[in-house]
Symmetry: C2
């Protein structure tokens, strides 16, 4: 394995001293980039793009050619696991993902199994290829949806506005939902370990829909299974710790409980005050976030102001850890020059929050 030239991101996640605040953006390899749209068109469909390791590698690297980002993230879809379970993932233009065979009855749930990882070989091949092509420039992040988030799509069959089907199952047949979640947890764990073995240097669990659960049920049906995933994850690879990030969109009120989850960093969205969040987790974990992606439509002065505000909210990093990110995926309509201004400002303004604390 090649030596990492820039490990600021990994060290920040582990709350080690770094010279500046590292930065990457959720969905940084995506539709706002004209070169992404071109590769996507060349592939023919979103799934063809995600399942072709060479093209997945190409789009993963595209944002790094334009911007001075401190990490790459595997280009893939969040629903690869249920697809490998046989649910039949399809993308209908303008409609988002949809499963041909969602879990609509007890028989389907009884048949559900941890998928053969060979069906996800294309993902691990992409990880290995990206790792090689990066050649140690920056670390590569592997990722998966959380057991709960995968279950939402598997039961609803598509994205939902009210999560009525999965919540009906949760209240009426919690045993069946626990079966799905337990299988998902095993699958996610194996999937992330295989990504680590293929070359992922950090991993992130996207609990995108954890925030739709009631307090009390979030802990039982989402957090518990994310914890199970983390417990069986490979801690080191090639002599380095592989840090874990967990992001629950809309999960700001559960940060205290999440700090004990067994991860190194928690992602937070823009509704969270970083100073308050930091006090809540008491620097036991690093924090990743939390600029509103819509800030990138505000023009250069606002972007730079808001970026500095996020840095100031976190404050002097000292014994903590901060990875700058958006609080959600970047919008497909984002102007390229907005991203340039953001990256430039974070790298320009953040060193003041690192190093020896003035006066102490």
């Amino acid at each position: 394995m090649s030596e990492l030239k820039n490990d600021v991101f990994l060290r920040a996640l582990l709350r080690e001293p770094v010279p500046y605040t590292p930065l990457w953006m959720m969905r940084q390899a995506g539709r706002y980039l004209p070169e992404y749209r071109q590769t996507r068109e060349q592939a023919g469909s979103f799934m063809a793009l995600a399942q072709n390791p060479e093209l997945a590698c190409e789009v993963t690297l595209q944002p790094l050619r334009r911007f001075d980002l401190d990490a790459a993230i595997l280009f893939s879809d969040i629903l690869t696991i249920p697809d490998a379970m046989g649910l039949g993932l399809q993308f209908v233009e303008g409609e988002g993902p949809r499963f041909k065979r969602p879990l609509h009855d007890e028989a389907a749930i009884a048949q559900l199994q941890v998928p053969d990882l060979d069906r996800l070989r294309y993902v691990f091949d992409a990880v290995a290829l990206i790792h090689k092509e990066l050649n140690g420039a920056v670390p590569l992040i592997g990722f998966s949806g959380s057991p709960w988030t995968l279950a939402c799509y598997m039961v609803e069959g598509a994205s939902s506005s009210d999560y009525r089907q999965i919540k009906t199952l949760m209240y009426r047949r919690p045993d069946l939902l626990h079966r799905i979640l337990s299988i998902n947890a095993q699958a996610v764990q194996a999937y992330l370990n295989a990504q680590i073995q293929a070359g992922a240097q950090a991993v992130m669990v996207f609990d995108s829909w954890g925030g739709v659960l009631a307090d009390g049920l979030f802990q039982q049906f989402s957090l518990q299974y994310t914890r199970q995933v983390l417990e069986g994850l490979q801690r080191e690879a090639h002599g380095r710790v592989v840090p874990r990030i967990v992001f629950t969109k809309g999960g700001g009120q559960w940060l205290a409980e999440m700090a004990d989850l067994g991860c190194d960093a928690l992602g937070v969205d823009w509704t969270v005050n970083l100073a308050a969040a930091r006090r809540t987790v008491d620097d036991r974990v690093a924090l990743q976030g939390n600029l509103d992606p819509m800030t990138l439509f505000g023009g250069e002065a606002a972007i730079r102001n808001e970026a500095r505000r996020v840095l100031a909210d976190f404050g002097h990093v000292h014994q903590g850890g901060h990875v700058f990110n958006l609080g959600h995926g970047i919008s497909q309509f984002t102007p390229i020059e907005a991203v340039s201004a953001l990256v430039e400002e974070v790298h320009r303004a953040s060193p003041a929050y690192h190093g020896t604390k003035a006066g102490t």
Copy 2:
């Protein structure tokens, strides 16, 4: 004015002792009721229903005939004010509300004015008629959208998934957005005062989209203007205090700041733990909530369990105040018998949390 036979709801909002926890449901006059669907069909369109005081009165009273609810809420739309401002509200079947003339440029914003309240006469006529027909059975709640929530629709022109247009305005031309919000605050205040004068015995501000704002900006662009509304509200009518409720969906992390807003109660959604929320607001305000509306799809046993859990989370009411509600509007697909079970359980189980605290 007729004497109130059941003022448990008003007293709970003011944190006075009550014998049980009062209950009403957001959107309780709505599509899950077959009689509502019939009246809606008779009216011809949603706006025709909302603008006809007799029919609005009829649908307001419908849920009270079926269920032992402790309050009625005016049936109306959240967008009556911008419609009266001349933006041209329309409902396209299956698409939700849409404005013919949204605020898409500086000229439109410069022309915006507090509307003549005569254009909203149909709302106040409905309030007066409902008040008369209720004949003191339970209190009547008047309501409005918050200045920010109205502005979201006025600038976006419809509901939005990313609030890109209003956030772009916020970052690029905060002066223009402040102008809209200031006019909205004046309009909402006059609108709620006119509802109080017509017979509303409590008022609620729905800050439905406050939760999409970043921390820091929520305070500047939503909370500040809700505060302005509350500052000018008539405090008493017909010898009784008119309590105020403010509900920011997704606003759980701002409860400490909202407790000083000048309202009597804060609505909270189901992601919030009521015990923690109560500690946060230190019983300075009552809390309203917070059952997940999807619980009503869980069958009778789950509904009763979850209702008891909400009561237990709040705990013994003592010096506090709790109004039972859903954490969001009731779903149109809700079975009637689910609502019956919920109402029955709250009235059956809640007296144990009132009166002299055992052992103290």
